[in-house]
Every structure is written in C-alpha cells, then in structure tokens.
C-alpha cells in the first residue's frame, strides 16, 4: 500500500466517524475527538435568535461521559480554567442546576472553528477528570471530615439558614466555602473546614482558608459578613499542633477568623446563632 493510499484511508476513516442525531431543535454532532475513557465527544448545535450556539448539552456536568462531576481538586480546577480561558469557553447554569459549556457564532463561517474548540475542550476536561491528583488517604480524610462537619451543622441549624459547599457569589461561581450561615439575608458567616492527611496537606488547607477569607473581603459581600469561622479537624493525621500553630495563628490574626477545634465543636452552637 502506497503512503498516499494510507493517507487516503486515514482521511476516510476519520471522516466516517462524524455522525449526527437530531434532538428536537438541536443537532447532536458526534465528533472524532476521543476521551481517555473511550468515549467520542458530542457537541450540540442550535439557533438562538440569529446566533448559532454550540454547547456540550450539559453532558460534562451531568456525568454523561462517566466522568467525575464534583471535582474540587485544585490541580483539576487549574486545568479546567486554563482550557476555558484559552479557548474562550463560556458557561451558564440552567434552571435545573446543570452547568452548560458553550460557544457562540454570529457568522456561520465560524461554526467549524467553534466545534473544533469546544470538542477539544470536552475531550481534555473529560480525560483530565479521570486523573486522581490527590492521594487516596487525602481524599478520604477530606470526604470524612466534610461529611462529619456537615452533619454536625445540620443537627442544630435550620435548613433554610445554611448552604453547604456553596459559592459566595453563585452567579459568578466565585469563592466556594464549605458552608455559608445566613443569620438574616444581609448577615452571613463564612465557614471553612481545615483538614489534611499530612502536614503539608493540612498547611495547604489553612492557606486556602486564608486566601478565601482575604478574597471575600475584596468583594461587595464584605459588609454583610459578620464572622469568619474555621473548623479545625483535630482528628486528622496532618494535625500536628506544634508544626502548624504559627500558620493557624497567622490565619486568626490576619483574617480575624474565629478558630474552633473539632474536639470543642459545641462552641459552634454559640457562634452560629
């Protein structure tokens, strides 16, 4: 077989992978872009007024690619934001809470480029979501403490007064806290959980809390925040008091955060009232 024939065969095979499926007013385009978990990427093209919209159909957020959907790992988020900003991918949360990633084209000549970029975005994000950046021990430590702390807060706080794992500004999806406590609509308390399976993870968790509080102070929400509360996991293997004391005191002095050890968690009932 001549190499030119090989090329023709490659071109034919790639070309044959493109498929479509009509879905109401949208056209699903199955592309030749593949993920590392062996799925072909689909994009959905529809019209909105005179504009063409190319979306992921909410499939990344819906876990349709068998991908992890609630990935909060810092390394994953860095990669997500990198691809999002490099390719100019927009996002919107629908009324049912699903995040859609999309691009627009006002001129039909630009549609192929938008499909090229969005398919590349989906391919990368789904594939990267398969990578576990943190150790199993760290993931388990975090998940266990979040679960314990959430249950404790829910045990004495009315459901309509607390939001768990929530953005300070939901529209911009900025600054996510473990919990937001609403004393009234104009008086809220920021709550951060601090934990880690090793000294380094524990220290990073303190630094993250520090940054989140600092950044919250730079927003319009500052005047509504009456307290910042850090709940410290004294049961975690990364909690080594003599090694982290200066980080914790910096957090307390620098941000004005109230520090509550898990071993004295009942103090939260006094702070949150």
């Amino acid at each position: 077989m001549s190499l030119e024939k090989v090329f023709q065969d490659i071109k034919y095979s790639f070309d044959s992978l493109w498929q479509t499926k009509q879905r109401g007013n949208s056209l699903e385009i199955i592309t030749p872009y593949g993920t590392t978990n062996n799925q072909f990427v689909s994009v959905f093209v529809t019209m909105q007024g005179s504009e063409f919209i190319i979306t992921d159909g909410g499939w990344i957020n819906g876990g349709v690619y068998d991908n992890v959907t609630q990935n909060e790992e810092a390394s994953f988020l860095k990669i997500l934001y990198h691809f999002q900003s490099s390719l100019g991918i927009k996002e919107i949360v629908s009324a049912d809470g699903t995040t859609y990633y999309y691009l627009k084209a006002t001129n039909s000549i630009d549609i192929p480029l938008r499909v090229f970029d969005l398919a590349s975005f989906i391919q990368n994000i789904v594939s990267v979501s398969e990578i576990s950046f943190e150790s199993k021990a760290e993931k388990e430590t975090k998940a266990r403490f979040i679960s314990k702390a959430n249950e404790f807060l829910k045990s004495f706080i009315q459901a309509d007064k607390i939001k768990l794992n929530c953005f300070l500004n939901p529209e911009k999806k900025e600054l996510k806290f473990n919990a937001l406590y609403y004393n009234s609509p104009t008086n809220l308390k920021l709550i951060n959980y601090i934990t880690g399976s090793s000294l380094s993870y524990f220290a990073n968790s303190i630094f993250k809390a520090n940054t989140l509080y600092e950044m919250a102070d730079d927003t319009v929400y500052k005047e509504y925040v009456s307290d910042k509360v850090s709940l410290i996991d004294t049961t975690a293997s990364g909690y080594i008091p003599e090694k982290i004391a200066h980080y914790l005191s910096h957090l307390e002095n620098h941000t004005g955060s109230k520090m509550v050890n898990w071993s004295e968690k009942e103090k939260l009932q006094t702070i949150l009232n």
């Binding site: 044959s16 498929q19 879905r23 978990n37 062996n38 072909f40 959905f44 979306t55 909410g58 927009k90």
Partner: protein, 212 residues
C-alpha cells in the same frame, strides 16, 4: 471483509466478543485475570425480588433519579446490586447497571438507552466501525477492556423505538444479563410513583436554556 467485522462488533455477549484481542486501551487486570469468574457473574441466573421498582430519589448526580435493588447470584454470598438511573428531565434517557463491588468497583454489565458514543479500541477493525452509538450494552472482554455492543434488536429501528419504553427495556436487559424476578418474570419500573406520572421527555438538551 467488512461484513465479517461488522458481525464481530454487534455480537451479543453470549457470542464471541470474549475473544477480541490486541486492544490498545485501558484494560482492567482484575477482570482479565479472573475472566472465567467474570463470565460466571454474567451468565448464571440472577434474581431480583421487587415486583415494582419505584424510582423517586436522586443519586450521586443531582440530575439523575436512582434506585438500587439487591440481586442474588448463585455463586456469591455477598451483595450484588442492580442500579436503575433515569435522567430527571428526560425519562427516555436511562441506564441499567449490574455491580458487584467486592470484585470490581464499576458496573460489570450495563445498558445505556442514550448518551455518548463508545469507542471500542480494537486492532483489526476499521476505525469508523469501532464507534458504537447508544442504545447499547457495555461489558468487558477477555483483556479487561470495556466494550459497547448492539444486538440485532437494537439495530432494528422498529424494535429500537419500542425499547425506548423503560419497562420493555428492563425485560430485555434482564434477558441479556440472565436476570429474573421469581421463575421467569420481570419487574415493573415506576418513575416518581405517587406523583401524577407525568413523563418528562426533553429530547433537546439545550431546550429551556438561554445562552447569554
């Protein structure tokens, strides 16, 4: 040549998909190293005990309703489960999964009514024939590679349309996976029992979303 390949792609799992070799993708050694046991999980008669499977709560994903049912398998003493997932806003988009976590974390056999086109990365088959659109079944082959396949029923447009009905489809899934209720019966699925039974079918995923 193409015809032979095509038949390979769409054989049911009781056929010879097990013999596919030379894969170039992610392989699960626990399945590859215990492939006889894996086949036993699939082929031996399994039982469920609920005549009605009512699906009313969301699972790990907020946009998916999920129900988990215990499954009895004659060769194992601990828990095997059947998971039925239905998208909240599109009841025609559902999955049936059989999982035996002691052996393997992910479902070992599953059906997708809709969703993503799967890539069976198998040497010796033309690239474009490696793409398998839903509806399709998923299983693992002798190399521990997850593969999707369609049966003759799923390739027949009329039968495929009929299998959009979740109750006809669960019976078909049970036949394909050798699972039954009692001697030779199938359970009935009720989505959001106790409600008016309004069926949400949103074929267009972009419907009702405004893109600023």
């Amino acid at each position: 040549m193409n015809k032979i390949t095509y038949n390979f792609i769409y054989l049911t799992f009781l056929g010879q998909v097990n013999n596919w070799l030379n894969m170039t993708s992610k392989k699960h050694s626990v399945i590859r190293d215990n492939f006889d046991f894996y086949n036993k999980l699939l082929e031996e008669r399994k039982s469920v005990f609920s005549e009605v499977i009512g699906i009313c709560k969301t699972g790990n994903n907020a946009n998916t309703l999920e129900k988990i049912e215990p499954v009895k398998h004659p060769s194992i003493s601990d828990e095997m489960i059947l998971i039925v997932d239905v998208k909240i806003n599109n009841h025609n988009f559902f999955q049936f999964k059989l999982r035996y976590q002691t052996f393997f974390d992910e479902p070992f056999f599953r059906f997708d009514s809709d969703g993503v086109t799967h890539h069976n990365k198998i040497d010796g088959i033309p690239l474009h024939l490696q793409a398998v659109k839903p509806p399709h079944f998923h299983r693992f082959n002798a190399d521990g590679l997850e593969i999707a396949y369609q049966t003759e029923k799923l390739l027949n447009e009329t039968e495929k349309k009929a299998l959009e009905d979740i109750n006809l489809c669960i019976a078909y899934f049970f036949q394909e996976s050798n699972t039954r209720l009692n001697q030779n019966e199938f359970p009935v699925i009720k989505i959001l029992p106790g409600t008016l039974g309004f069926s949400f079918i949103t074929e267009d995923p972009n419907q009702n979303v405004t893109f600023p």
